[in-house]
Structure formats: C-alpha cells, structure tokens
C-alpha cells in the first residue's frame, strides 16, 4: 500500500463485508503532539473477543476465498513504522472501530494520498450504504455525509450517479496520477 488513503479504502471495504450500513471515517491531527489519527467506525456485525485477539495476525481471515488476511496487519505496520499504533475495538452486533495513529512528521509516515478517489470508490461500490467522511487536516479539510446528500437528491438520482460522484470528487484537491 503506497499511501494511507489506500489503507482506509481497504479497512472500509472490510466494514462493508461485515454488513455495515453506516461507515464513519474521521481524520484529525494534533499539531502540538505531532500526531495524525485515522478512525474508521462501522455498525457492522462486529467481532468476538477471540477474533479480535487474532485480527492483526496475517494468517487469520474470515474470508473463504483465500487463507491470509493482510489488511489490518499492513496498516498496523504502517502506523508502527512511525512510532504510532493501531487500536481495534469491537462488539458483536454493534460494530467495529479501527483507530490508527501516526507521528505526522516521521520520515516513514506515508502520505495521506487521494482520499477523493477512496471515498468515490466506496460510494460507487456501495450505493446503498452511508459514508460520513470528516477530515479536519489543515491541508485538506473536507466533510462529506452521504445521508444528507441522499436526502437532498430525494430519489431524483442515485448517489452513485457520475454527476454526484463528480461533485464529491471535486471537494478534494489531491489527485492520484
């Protein structure tokens, strides 16, 4: 994974596989402490204590198409490389929250990347789920809530309509080449 936005896409895709109807992605920074925090919270089916203990083990997965699950271990590694860490809390039937912290100015901290592409990819692939994205980063402060967009569109067009996706895309300045 080249940047953090790809990790976010991966974790949020996990949330959709867990049956979440609402996925909240929050990116914030604490400039005094030089910290960057990414939180991904879903209302999916959650995990039991046993699964939660093993979830960062690359050889554990719930998937049946292959035997290894690399998503969370890779994100944990990316966070730890900067002196940060990964915390996961989960409750069965309620959902899961994944929080990754990074030392923002650490040389090994990967760039945030193209969050616009991540968010539009998620919305295209999951038009019946809701996403709330909040970034309070100084370099790219953006807020998207598909619940309010959906309400405003009022059934006239889908949230996955290219015209709607374009509007969301244009809220972000950074572009992947």
């Amino acid at each position: 994974m080249q940047d953090l936005s790809l990790h976010i896409l991966d974790v949020a895709e996990n949330a959709t596989q867990a049956g979440a109807t609402l996925i909240e992605i929050d990116i914030s920074e604490d400039t005094d402490k030089d910290l960057l925090e990414i939180s991904i919270q879903d209302n999916g089916k959650g995990m039991d204590a046993e699964m939660l203990r093993h979830v960062t083990d690359p050889f554990v997965t719930t998937r049946t198409t292959r035997r290894v699950g690399m998503g969370l271990p890779l994100l944990q590694q990316a966070a730890r490389e900067t002196g940060g860490d990964l915390r996961i809390t989960s409750e069965q039937g309620k959902g899961t929250r994944v929080v990754a912290t990074f030392h923002k100015s650490h040389i090994d901290r990967r760039p945030l990347g193209d969050m616009g592409a991540t968010l539009t990819t998620l919305i295209m692939g999951n038009p019946y789920r809701d996403f709330v994205y909040t970034s309070s980063l100084r370099e790219e402060a953006v807020e998207v809530d598909t619940r309010s967009i959906r309400k405003e569109l009022d059934g006239a067009m889908g949230i996955n309509d290219p015209a709607v996706i374009r509007l969301i895309r244009d809220l972000f300045r950074k572009r992947e080449v």
Partner: protein, 127 residues
C-alpha cells in the same frame, strides 16, 4: 472546510429532469472492480477512477459500475468482471487504466470482449 452545498445538488437535479434514470435499477452491463486488499494494493482504485471517467463521458445510464471483495485470484490483480445481461461474465486480469479504457470501449460499449486481457477464453482445443 470543503463540503457540498444544497445549491450544488439542486443544480444537478435540475439537469437530470426529464431523463429516465436506470442506474438505480435495471441495467444492461455491470462492471465490477475487485477491491480486496490484494486488488487495492495492485492498483484497483485507479481502475475505478478511470472507469468512472469513461462512464461520465459516455453518459450511458444502463451501465452499473460497482466493486466487490477478493475473488481469490490475488496474483492476477487488479481485475474487473464485465457482465452483460445476455452473455457470460468475462473476468479481466492484470489491468491498468489504459486497458480498462479499451475494455470499456470495445466490450462494454461495442459488445466484443477483449480476449487478450481475459483470464481465459473458451476451454481446451484439440488442434
């Protein structure tokens, strides 16, 4: 903070008036980008962005663009699957934005699968 305004959404709603929107229901073609950890790491998001651009330019309302998880063929990622209502689905492997552009033009719009990017075509031959 950048966020969508009610006016932005009203404007595009206005521009849609009178057109039949099929994107929420029936479709002629469904394009699925495989978006597992393997696909994402191999560049699947770029395929989604490229296909979105193609779809936006084309303006067709009977094409659904969506994503799915890992298909279990991680070494072939990034992949897409193209399903047309009247023919068998085609899985394309080891793609990039240019290749999906060609698949969009020739298969999705033209109706002719791009054999050289497909996972397999037909089965064994005896000659």
């Amino acid at each position: 903070m950048a966020k969508l305004t009610v006016e932005d959404l009203k404007k595009i709603k206005e521009s849609m008036k009178g057109t039949v929107n099929l994107r929420q229901g029936d479709y002629r073609v469904k394009i699925t980008v495989h978006m597992g950890t393997c696909g994402i790491a191999a560049g699947a998001r770029k395929l989604m962005s490229a296909l979105l651009e193609k779809l936006e330019k084309n303006g067709a309302t009977d094409i659904i663009l969506t994503s799915s998880g890992c298909a279990g063929l991680c070494n072939h990622e990034p992949m897409i699957t193209v399903e047309m209502t009247d023919s068998a689905p085609v899985k394309y492997i080891k793609l990039d934005p240019d290749k999906v552009g060609r698949i969009f033009d020739e298969h999705v719009i033209g109706g002719h699968p791009v054999a050289e990017y497909a996972l397999a075509v037909g089965s064994e031959t005896t000659h």
